[in-house]
């Protein structure tokens, strides 16, 4: 481990996590408010800065200046650690997402792990601890119910989430996200197999299980990030604010930011797995080999391509949130356990059959 590697990793961490992802969180909050406003024929925040772009900054300052109130009846230690436990895993999962091909000869991924998706699921499932601890440590009814709901919801949908990507892993025979992306760059995106080997009978047949797993993956992602239509842990009409009812000031803000960060990482993972990550459609500007050197401009275009896709996905998340009503709890559990779980299992078998039959 030489100093050059450390320096490069550190730069990537600082730039990708703190200079790109966190501002993107702020931007997402702004976009959420503006888009929801437009959908409901309103204007939304437009006073602070151009187009109200500085609104998240103003909100952040407001959160910092508010009284950080700790109620007397809470379990202090757990109460304090819970917000951090929701924010940290969300940011940790950034580590394996390949957000670009290469730039200055450096791979544009913080940690090129060989178990990418597994790492993401392992870390993302830690988020549930933050919510459970928040719900339990608050020592009051609404947070407790919110925490319980969230636990069962996240555990149920994690299974669907994991099973839904098994077909993809079977098709690519690979758990390294960088290699999966390169494979897609050459042979067509999972959801757009129109070039390379994707443009064949096998590719066309495999598109069916991939599309099914895409639907399951995205729906489970919604449930996993506690967003509408699955925001039962914090549904205002029943549980006041759910697990963060007793939180104020920056501790509440951490829950809030953690939710949005999880949403961005979820979008990033969906883009990486189904929409070819940083690659451009139809194999344009694809490097000759995995981690093959590309020029500065091409590298920049690849990074831009990744973030354009992620932002598009975030907008999709937002529009869905303001379109669909909330599920009832039994409907949520039925959907997760009765439908998605079985469909995902059948989907795995279907993929195996297609791969076996075509070969």
């Amino acid at each position: 481990m030489d100093w050059q590697f450390l320096l490069a990793s550190l730069t990537k961490i600082v730039v990708f996590v703190f200079l790109v992802t966190l501002p993107l969180v702020a931007l997402t909050v702004w976009a959420e408010r503006r888009v929801s406003a437009a959908i409901q024929d309103r204007v939304g925040p437009n006073r602070v800065g151009p187009f109200g772009l500085l609104q998240p900054l103003a909100d952040g300052i407001k959160f910092l200046l508010k009284e950080d109130f700790t109620p007397n009846h809470v379990r202090k230690g757990f109460y304090w650690i819970a917000p951090a436990l929701t924010m940290v895993p969300a940011l940790l999962t950034c580590a394996v997402l390949p957000f670009g091909s290469t730039l200055f000869g450096e791979k544009m991924v913080i940690a090129d792990l060989n178990v990418g998706p597994l790492f993401v699921f392992a870390i993302a499932s830690l988020t549930v601890y933050g919510i459970v601890l928040a719900g339990w440590a608050s020592n009051s009814k609404y947070p407790f119910l919110g925490g319980v709901r969230s636990t069962s919801q996240m555990i149920s949908y994690e299974i669907c989430l994991g099973l839904s990507i098994v077909p993809l892993l079977m098709i690519y025979g690979e758990l390294n996200l960088s290699k999966i992306v390169y494979e897609q760059a050459v042979n067509g995106w999972a959801m757009l197999p129109l070039w390379g080997e994707g443009w064949s009978l096998k590719g066309a047949l495999l598109f069916i299980p991939v599309a099914i797993s895409f639907v399951i993956f995205v729906t489970s992602m919604f449930a996993e990030t506690n967003r509408l239509p699955f925001d039962l842990p914090e549904c205002e009409t029943e549980l006041v604010a759910g697990y963060h009812t007793e939180y104020s000031s920056m501790k509440f803000a951490l829950f809030f930011l953690g939710e949005y960060a999880a949403m961005i990482i979820g979008s990033g993972l969906a883009v990486t797995l189904f929409f070819g990550g940083w690659s451009l459609p139809f194999g344009w500007l694809t490097p000759d080999s995995l981690h093959g050197e590309v020029g500065f401009l091409t590298g920049a275009i690849h990074i831009a391509s990744f973030f354009v896709k992620v932002i598009g996905f975030i907008l999709f998340f937002i529009v869905i949130r303001w379109t669909l009503p909330r599920f009832r709890y039994d409907q949520l559990m039925r959907l997760g356990w009765v439908f998605f779980f079985e469909i995902a299992l059948v989907n795995v078998i279907l993929t195996a059959l297609i791969i076996w039959l075509v070969e």
Binding site: V35, A38, I39, Q40, D41, V319, I320, T323
Partner: protein, 176 residues
């Protein structure tokens, strides 16, 4: 007796839920693009854009005192408005007009005329009751202040808002 609500029988594609999502998104995105492309405008940007030109003739804004064409203050301090005012926002202290004054024959005028705009409910009863047509509800609606004292309109402020009204009452005209 229990009532059995008949549930609609869904077709198989309706069970899939995806067509419902698509049609729902058509509605929301329709609204989104109408607003974004500025085809439809619903909200008025208040401090910059105002609706003042569209205020109706009978709009009831801040009450104010008026002077007549000869510069005489119309109010004769009869205190009817003070008595009728439902929230008791008006406080008048009358004084006698000295005999050497040009308007000595009017006899009374308000020494102090305060309207507490924190209390005022803009009902317009003062205007209705005034026998001298001295108090009117104007179209001013943005009455703000940083203290309670500031929100009390005194005589000077009331005449400033009210200005001059000609005609209406001619009995004090000294040509008559």
């Amino acid at each position: 007796m229990a009532i059995v609500v008949k549930r609609p029988k869904l077709k198989w594609w309706e069970h899939l839920y995806i067509p419902a999502i698509v049609s729902g998104m058509r509605v929301t995105l329709g609204h989104f693009f109408q607003i974004v492309s500025k085809k439809k405008k619903v909200t008025m940007q208040y401090p910059e854009e105002k609706w003042d030109a569209h205020l109706p003739e009978h709009y009831r804004g801040a009450p104010a005192l008026v002077t007549d064409e000869q510069g005489r203050e119309r109010c004769v301090a009869c205190q009817l408005c003070e008595f009728i005012c439902p929230p008791r926002a008006i406080a008048i202290r009358p004084e006698e007009i000295p005999s050497d004054d040009k308007w000595a024959k009017v006899e009374k005028r308000p020494k102090k005329f305060d309207i507490d705009m924190v209390r005022c409910i803009y009902c317009g009863m003062c205007e209705e009751v005034c026998p001298e047509q001295a108090i009117f509800l104007r179209k001013d609606y943005a009455i703000t202040g940083t203290s309670r004292e500031e929100m009390v309109h005194d005589k000077g402020r009331l005449y400033e808002i009210g200005g001059v009204r000609t005609g209406l009452v001619n009995k004090w005209n000294y040509h008559k």
